[in-house]
């Protein structure tokens, strides 16, 4: 209950911070529409020439794009802004303002994960859901309850994995405050807007299990377009949980390091 009240307070403060800069609103709008348009255009160009690639037809690829836009929007809504505030030259750790975060009587990982919201991302979320909805209407089959449940669980696993990666990347700031692994990850994450099946075998493996950006979008999309086995769903959830536990451990190790190294 206290956590929910806290999240509400953070959302309210973030909304006011966002409203302070009007120009940002228009830039964000442009960015969202460009992101949306380039994704659709890419798919349009590819599937204007072929019916399927490696078993992925237009509707399934559209589902991946829909998941990508939805996940990106959720990332931009809260995880991204909150965790990005730690790293970089103007980040909290570099400026020393992280001291105030540590002084709060609330679990630090919770605090650094939910304190900044970018409500404009709700517009991105709407676009993502629009693409996802369109993809669903173009599928060759009607969705069963299992399809939807598997999709939601796989999406939750994907989001958890994304959170874990972002948290782990942000934790590295405790080893080097200038380190911005998040930026490198952003570039790799762009690859997740297309089905991992489109990439060569070795890259597919890397993008599914090593830097699991494909895991984040392709598996939930597959749950809609072709269905997921219980086994793969179980493995996905377990994998996401392991990643989250690992990231949390890394964050705590980083905190201990901060506590013994900063001045």
């Amino acid at each position: 209950m206290m956590h929910l009240r806290l999240i509400r307070a953070f959302i309210s403060a973030s909304a006011q911070e966002e409203a302070a800069y009007r120009a940002n609103f228009y830039i964000s709008l442009l960015h969202s529409l460009l992101n949306f348009a380039t994704g659709l255009l890419g798919l349009g160009i590819i599937y204007g020439q072929v019916q399927t690639i490696q078993g992925w037809d237009y509707a399934s690829a559209l589902a991946v794009l829909g998941v990508y836009l939805t996940v990106s929007a959720l990332r931009g809504l809260m995880m991204g802004p909150s965790l990005d505030a730690l790293a970089g030259m103007d980040g909290e750790v570099w400026r020393g303002a992280f001291d105030f975060t540590l002084l709060r009587p609330v679990r630090t990982q919770f605090l650094v994960s939910v304190r900044k919201w970018r409500l404009f991302a709700l517009f991105d979320l709407l676009l993502g859901l629009l693409v996802l909805g369109t993809a669903v209407t173009r599928l060759n089959h009607t969705l069963s309850l299992y399809h939807i449940a598997a999709f939601l669980l796989a999406l939750a696993a994907g989001l958890l994995a994304l959170y874990a990666i972002l948290l782990a990347a942000a934790s590295l700031v405790f080893w080097d405050p200038g380190l911005m692994v998040g930026w490198v990850f952003d570039s790799v994450f762009q690859m997740a807007r297309y089905p991992v099946g489109l990439y060569p075998g070795w890259l597919r493996l890397v993008l599914t299990w090593i830097i699991p950006v494909g895991f984040i979008t392709s598996i939930p999309a597959a749950a809609l377009s072709e269905g997921l086995s219980w086994e793969l769903l179980g493995v996905s959830l377990a994998f996401a949980l392991v990643l989250a536990a690992g990231a949390s451990w890394l964050f705590r190790a980083g905190l201990r390091r901060y506590a013994s190294a900063s001045s």
């Binding site: 307070a9 403060a13 911070e17 540590l102 002084l103 709060r104 609330v106 506590a259 013994s260 900063s262």
Partner: protein
């Protein structure tokens, strides 16, 4: 002492600091193999502070003041020693402990930059789980005392440094902490704002009974607020006691002020001064000499016997001069 609010024993902190020579070659070498050196920031520091006490923590830059405060606030783990505050070990950072303390850092801000202070206070109220009525009461009370009601609705980035510091103080006191760490709270403020904030801090100490540790490079802050000071240098404790007695114990010299009889053989007074005496003011009507503390009585007697003295007084040097001397000499 059993009822001490803050009890510190042999607290030590050593940092491992990367080190390299200047130049591009050294920079590239340090990418492959980084060399470290150990720096002792705090060494075997021990003291106790009673509930409600206001203690000044003084020392030159790099003496270890901020490091000590950060250890006591639970932000840093010590390398050795113990500290117990209100029954808690600070660096365990238990929520109950963190609810009892607060910290003001003169060179850092906890305010949300783009929105009015009132909104930061709202967020802090939720973080500390404050009841709405209690929160409102505290905000009203603090803003009235600090005369800052008109600042509450302006974005923080539009406020002056002094106005922002008022906001920092409210933010730090919202949850009514019983221990307050103030690290250079008057840094960069004009004398008038310094005086008003000092007054506010003194009132808060009296009103709430909170225990306070203050660090400041402005001796006026320390002299006005803290009956007791702890002086550290190179991380070691040099003095712990009343501010008024600091000069007595630490100044290695005293000042002798003399008025000489100009008509009666005082022209060659300079030649007749004993060894080890420094002339601070050469005007025979108000001659000021600095003499080694241990030889004060012998030199006074000698001066009375050899010079045509009309008036003589022995004084402790001004506090700033003593502190400056201690800072420069590195150790006493």
């Amino acid at each position: 002492m059993n009822n001490a609010h803050i009890e510190v024993q042999n607290l030590s902190k050593t940092y491992r600091v990367p080190q390299r020579q200047s130049g591009l070659g050294a920079a590239l070498r340090s990418l492959a193999r980084r060399e470290y050196t150990e720096v002792t920031a705090v060494s075997h520091l021990s003291f106790t502070i009673q509930p409600g006490e206001m203690v000044g923590f003084i020392g030159p830059n790099g003496a270890g003041k901020t490091t000590t405060l950060k250890m006591l606030a639970g932000l840093l783990h010590p390398t050795g020693g113990t500290a117990v505050i209100d029954g808690y070990i600070p660096w365990e950072r238990q929520p109950d402990y963190l609810r009892r303390i607060s910290m003001v850092l003169g060179n850092k801000s906890q305010m949300l930059w783009d929105i009015p202070p009132l909104d930061t206070f709202h967020v802090l109220g939720e973080i500390y789980g404050l009841d709405k009525t209690a929160w409102q009461q505290t905000v009203d009370e603090l803003t009235a005392v600090l005369q800052m009601e008109d600042l509450l609705t302006k974005p923080v980035r539009n406020l002056s440094l002094g106005e922002r510091m008022k906001c920092e103080l409210v933010a730090a006191l919202l949850h009514r902490p019983s221990v307050l760490f103030l690290d250079e709270p008057t840094l960069g403020l004009d004398v008038s704002m310094q005086r008003r904030l000092r007054q506010f801090i003194a009132d808060t100490n009296r009103r709430t009974g909170a225990t306070m540790i203050l660090t400041s490079h402005y001796m006026a802050d320390v002299a006005e607020l803290c009956p007791r000071v702890i002086l550290i240098h190179h991380g070691r404790l040099l003095y712990d006691g009343l501010l008024g007695q600091l000069s007595d114990q630490l100044a290695p010299f005293k000042l002798i002020r003399l008025t000489l009889d100009r008509d009666n053989g005082s022209a060659d007074w300079r030649e007749r001064l004993p060894e080890g005496t420094a002339v601070l003011n050469p005007d025979p009507a108000n001659l000021t000499l600095r003499v080694p503390r241990r030889e004060t009585s012998a030199i006074t007697a000698y001066l009375l016997n050899t010079l045509p003295v009309v008036d003589l007084s022995v004084e402790n040097p001004p506090l700033e001069a003593v502190i400056d001397q201690i800072y420069q000499e590195a150790a006493v």
